[in-house]
Amino acid sequence: MRPSPLAGAFVLPERPTRKTGMTPDLHCSALTKRFGDTTAVDNVSFSVPPGSFFSILGPSGCGKTTIMRMIAGFLEPSDGDIQIKGKSVLNVPPNKRPVNMVFQHLALFPMMNIEENIGYGLRRAGLPKGEITTKVGEALERIGLPGIGKRKVDELSGGQKQRVAIARCMVLEPDVLLLDEPLGALDLKLRERMKVELKSLQAAFDTTFVYITHDQSEALVMSDNIAVMNEGRFEQMGSARDLYYRPDTAFVAGFVGDSNRWQGRVTRIEGGHVEVQSETGLTLRGASHGRALQAGDMAQAFVRPEAIRIAHGADELASFDTTITGQVTSLLFNGAASRVLVQGEAGHEAIEVNLPQSGEFANLAKGDTVHIGWSSDQANVFAAGGL
């Protein structure tokens, strides 16, 4: 529904985002795909505003690739609609859709050199030769690899191939660029660098990117918006920050980032604060953040290792409503991301805690007694059975 010009004046101040009045580049409504009896994608709806970086994050087999292939046109949806710039593309074959795809294994054409690879789409569009040469040159310049046009595909490094694959799509100026886990084949160091590079390429080309991945750090670092997908459904859609700090479901809490996880029973509710008695005998306090929970319900509680404060003395944790005293059972050194496992005196399982790198725990050893605690806002409690 488009507000009338007059109404727009009143609406605008309340919604100061750039989405106002713009048709989304990509809009999927009630998208469903069934293969025989299994539903790979179940009633998924989302919109991607122009120029943004949208990620679909989920474990393998959750249906994210199916969504991608439906948008690209390689699969026909069983139900629902896909609109690109406001126009339905359901009956448009893949070669006529204003979307291009960067494939998982890049799918550069090995029988062509780099120039021919990038120029392929332009040749298919019937552009004159001179124009193709100019555009290919510009694209190579843009991805920072001028002068490699005559090389063969297998002479390039993994990162270079990556950039060529993106350039090959971008010369066609698609409305939406789809990326199907393109960093999966790269080694760890290169993957870290490509994350930053992809984000800056997206800014340089100013095109809408839809990115699918099972690697949460790729999604968290690059995306404006992320949808977490599980078993064919979107569990939650939001910014990286939302997903991380305010997961809507137990699945999101467990899938995005690391968490200590307890299964237990709700013993008390006070405002938004919930007290949970875990099956292993730990009493902890967390927040329900508006989720319906009642005393006596089975519940799951998630606390991130980095949300737990560790201290030498109990008095330092006075402000926290869950505190535990215990022994260090294990030191997991991993540079900046080092952690300790703390075994509480009550006998429940060890809790993973991030180790501050400011020096006061540099001499921490196995068997030392420490105090840990967290504020209930940092612990997310969900009704069990949601998993």
Partner: protein
């Protein structure tokens, strides 16, 4: 240790060396020497090119030679045209058990001898054969139709005999083409024809070339099919060689014919490789 390794290598190479020398080099050198001698009297021979001159001076020989070459090239192209879609279907369109089953179906005819397979075609094509009878029964022909003993029958037989040798290399190369690459071809705006021309065929080129070489050689050197399915007018060059060796007992001329065939096939294969810009290493390695 080094000596043992050397001994091992020598032992491993022995069968190959024996095979090459006993079955390839020695017979060919001998054949070549035979082709270069002329019988001047009883048991008396002289070194000369007379046999080769006979070949070039007799129009029937030259004509049969050219006919065999052209028909073989034609049969190779026909085989390629038929085998390519079949191979593409087997390699890319079906998966798993179906793929194995279809591949096996291509192989099954080769479990019986070529002779039996050719007889199969004769049963189908002869005057009193199945096709002739069906045509008469359907009222499409007024009398018995003879479809044997002409060039078309030879062509059918050759293509049928060669099919497997084209399908195998094509399936192998097409299987190595990833689906992603084909999809990328469509995704970037290609249609069926341009994806086939720019992506699938260039990728399959090594398979196409090696399949064509094998099929061409098989056609050129085929004896059974042209003899059984071809008529009096449908002479094949191998028939000439056979008749020189066995019927005329003229080994000298027969040997010269054999060498002409070797030169012809080498020239055509070389030309084909040059034409398609492929090299033997690329297609065979």
């Amino acid at each position: 240790m080094r000596r043992e390794a050397k001994l091992g290598l020598a032992l491993l190479l022995t069968p190959l060396a024996l095979w090459l020398s006993l079955l390839i080099f020695i017979p060919h050198i001998d054949l070549f020497l035979v082709s270069l001698r002329e019988r001047v009297g009883v048991g008396k021979y002289e070194l000369s090119f007379a046999n080769y001159l006979t070949f070039f001076n007799e129009p029937l020989y030259l004509w049969t030679f050219m006919r065999t070459a052209v028909m073989s090239i034609l049969a190779t192209m026909l085989t390629l045209l038929i085998a390519f879609p079949v191979s593409y279907y087997i390699a890319k369109m079906v998966k798993g058990r179906m793929q194995a089953a279809l591949f096996l179906l291509c192989l099954v005819p080769f479990w019986v001898s070529e002779l039996v397979r050719t007889f199969g075609w004769m049963i189908l094509l002869r005057e009193t054969g199945i096709i002739s009878n069906v045509l008469q029964y359907a009222g499409l022909a007024s009398g018995p139709v003879e479809m044997l003993y002409n060039d078309a029958a030879i062509m059918v037989g050759l293509v049928y005999t060669s099919m497997l040798f084209m399908v195998v290399p094509l399936v192998t190369t097409l299987e190595s083409l990833s689906d992603e690459v084909v999809e990328a071809g469509y995704d970037l705006g290609g249609n069926g024809v341009s994806v086939l021309r720019e992506i699938i065929i260039p990728h399959a080129m090594p398979g196409i070339v090696s399949g064509c070489i094998v099929v061409f050689m098989l056609c050129l050197g085929n004896y059974l099919t042209p003899t059984m399915l071809g008529g009096k007018e449908s002479l094949w060059f191998t028939e000439l060689i056979y008749s020189q060796f066995i019927v005329r007992f003229n080994w000298e001329l027969g040997a010269a014919f054999g060498f002409m065939l070797l030169i012809l096939s080498s020239l055509i294969v070389w030309g084909m490789l040059r034409l398609t810009g492929q090299s033997l290493e690329k297609t065979m390695g």
